[in-house]
Symmetry: C2
Subunit: 467 residues, 2 copies
């Protein structure tokens, strides 16, 4: 029995390892990269010519590799530069302080050194509480304190500490250079790209929710044939929840990304900070969706839909799905780093006009019921949806601002990055010259419940155009 338990546990762990690797294969590659970098710096010890040059200081190279090799290039660069700068600054300061301490004679030296160590360690530690320093230079300050203490303390013992400082600095440089080169050259993981993808995928998650919401909420109003869509729809509900707590991850990625050189489509000074603004607007929208989601609970859904629900069904569904499509188009354009596609504006306008329809419906439609309590869930949903359109508009403006700041490529208006989407489901019969002398296109509009299946075969238009 005991063996079986161990076996099961081992299987479980093996499955977990497999899943972790499958979820993000970059993790496996990163682990291998760290192994390679460490084996490389081991050469400092194994290979005699190098050992003779650097001596026992080779351990600093090992230490540097272990400590600064991070998952993303930005984090590795940030730690490497922080370590280098911190060591350099603290080293020079340490040399100066040692010189001062030497002046105070054999007896006074330890006291002078002790006082300096205390003062500099305490003030540098305090500086780590500044939010700006904490976010970017925390590790550098740590290394500053460490190196200053080591240099000034060792200086008291080892007379040739300039050699030591030089050895230490050069081994750190070699270790850091190996890390940074492997990190950048072998399957690099860019913090900037991760941030870019995470922000766009968050917008996509909201879009999925909004596209699915209408069908789910108004499910009971519909006839049986739409039941399948609802089953499929369940999966979108959980996606947006991850957006709610995305702030800390985005903040740290933006901090790392600013160290990264030009990569892929991103310049060195890509406006990473602006992603935080978009991220914050995305979370605002996610909070509203959280409020909306409370109304999807089955206990609130009545089997017999209220009159109000029937009244608002069409505009609400259009508003929700068009907002979702506008977000999806925004996310697609942003992901491809092209100027926001016109289709996102089209969908946003459609959502706005649906919002006005909804407002009109509410303004004109008389409440036939005397029971306000019954209509409250539907009224709330309508109210939240109206606000969501505003949120989507804000988000859209922020993405446009980003596209200007980051010089996104503009695409020709006629080339849509997605399959063309029209508001109405219809086919356009191309004009055939042989059959008819009059140039025309015939467009038949089949329905409005799904805009995805449109095929645009001829020139665009919304009605028959005999010319």
């Amino acid at each position: 029995m005991g063996i079986q338990v161990v076996k099961n546990k081992a299987m479980e762990i093996a499955m977990k390892i497999k899943k972790l690797g499958q979820d993000d294969p970059r993790r496996i590659i990163h682990s291998i990269k760290v192994g390679v970098a460490l084996t490389l710096v081991s050469l400092f010890y194994y290979w005699n010519p190098l050992y003779d040059g650097f001596g026992a200081s080779g351990i600093w190279a090992v230490m540097t590799v272990v400590v600064i090799f991070e998952f993303t290039v930005g984090a590795t660069l940030s730690k490497g530069l922080n370590r280098g700068l911190g060591t350099l600054l603290a080293g020079s300061l340490g040399v100066g302080v040692n010189y001062l301490a030497n002046l105070s004679g054999q007896k006074g030296e330890p006291f002078v050194l002790g006082i300096f160590v205390f003062l500099i360690a305490a003030s540098a530690t305090f500086s780590r509480f500044f939010p700006g320093i904490k976010a970017r230079y925390d590790y550098g300050v740590l290394i500053f304190i460490l190196t200053f203490s080591l240099v000034s303390i060792s200086g008291y013992r080892i007379d040739e500490f300039l050699t030591l400082a030089h050895q230490r600095l050069s081994t750190i440089l070699v270790g850091g250079a190996i890390c940074i080169m492997i990190s950048i050259l072998v399957c690099p993981v860019w913090a900037g790209e991760t941030l870019h993808n995470s922000v766009t995928s968050n917008i996509n998650k909201l879009a999925d929710y909004l596209e699915g919401f209408g069908g789910e909420y108004f499910y009971c109003c519909e006839d049986g044939e739409h039941g399948v869509a609802t089953e499929k729809g369940k999966s979108f509900v959980e996606g947006y929840k991850a957006v709610l707590n995305s702030k800390s991850m985005e903040d740290s990625m933006a901090n790392f990304a600013r160290w990264e050189p030009k990569h892929g489509k991103f310049r060195f000074r890509h406006p990473w900070k602006h992603y935080l603004k978009i991220g914050s607007l995305t979370r605002q929208c996610a909070y509203q969706i959280e409020a909306l989601n409370r109304h999807l609970c089955p206990q609130i859904q009545t089997q017999d839909p209220s009159q109000l629900r029937r009244m608002i069904e069409v505009p609400c569904k259009t508003l929700s799905s068009e907002s979702g499509k506008a977000l999806k188009a925004l996310a697609t354009g942003m992901k491809a780093m092209t100027n926001p596609s016109p289709s996102s504006q089209v969908h946003l306008n459609a959502a706005k006009s649906a919002m006005n329809d909804l407002k009109d419906t509410l303004k004109l439609g008389t409440a036939q019921t005397t029971n306000l309590l019954e209509i409250i869930p539907d009224a709330t949903v309508a109210s939240i949806l109206i606000e969501i359109v505003k949120s989507v508009e804000d988000l859209s403006e922020a993405v446009v601002e980003l596209s200007l700041k980051a010089h996104f490529k503009s695409i020709e208006a006629t080339v849509s990055p997605e399959k063309p989407q029209l508001l109405h489901k219809g086919t356009i019969n191309p004009f055939v010259e042989a059959e008819d002398e009059q140039p025309h296109v015939v467009i038949s509009v089949r329905g409005t419940e799904d805009g995805d299946l449109t095929e645009k075969k001829g020139s665009s238009g919304t009605t028959s155009l005999p010319t």
Copy 2:
């Protein structure tokens, strides 16, 4: 001019430093503690008897102090234990691997060592991606990789590396012990206490909002004399926003707190994990308040309140302020680590009965307006408030659960931590025997808009009771 600019800049920085220290004086104390700890370990170098014992390994003590001394006791303990364990494990493994490599002869040794370093570094790096290991043992695994590389690589060079390992381990122990002792004995900052205070203060922020919301939202319905309350009320609006992004801070504090020994009112195995549950429910409630807050915007407020707003004003105000008071009582009890006070249950019940009043008002009150759009903001506010009562109830249950798990002190039911509060404002004239032979109490109910000013002078009752 140039000097003036520098002077202004220096003044600005000085002000920032002062503010940082005033905001949390523990930061200054922490900085001094780090300085003291570093000066203490410097003794390893300055004081000859110690130096003779430990030799150049004294630098490991300095390094340990700089690296593991964190702001909270829990973080320091976590890093210290991780460092100790990681060093011990990697040290023993390094010795074993060295023994194996020795067997493979002069030529084979570097290859065997290189392969082991690669395999162990890569697999340990991969293990850092497991969420459970990342949260608690990340630093330990880092130190494991570092020590293993150092020991196995140095082993190839230095024959007496057992002495080195022993020296390194003992200096790390001494450095760690100094850090942990200073951290615990001198003005300790406990992660557990910080988590406890942060969770209760977050509940308090929501309570402030809910207590202020009614007066703010229904301001335009009231006459001039309440204007002052509104001015004062403005400050509560921003407080809750900090709650929205509190997750990552709470997660890390809970991880540190589990390392901390008994301190203050907290046992060693205090149910810190349960605070995360309460924190998550608090955020749920904050999301709802975020939805509510959108309706405080001035552009939505109409100068002429709708009929519906007048109808729902009293129950909404009561619901909101009683929910706020229930949360405040919960937070007060939780902060003092006493069982949830009966008053929180009283307020929760009052909020629930206000919720039922509100529902009844909505059920019975006819919508005289034909313009549904006009009543939608008020309907939404009512709907969100109804949901908030459910959230407050969930939060209350979670706090009760915590009080059981953490064995909070129970207080006597008759001792209320606050002044007694009733739902209705009224006075009870005590029965005066001399004037009238019939025993009775006269209760006059003056109004319902404020429950705070009630004085309970006689026996309780809801109407005149001539007996």
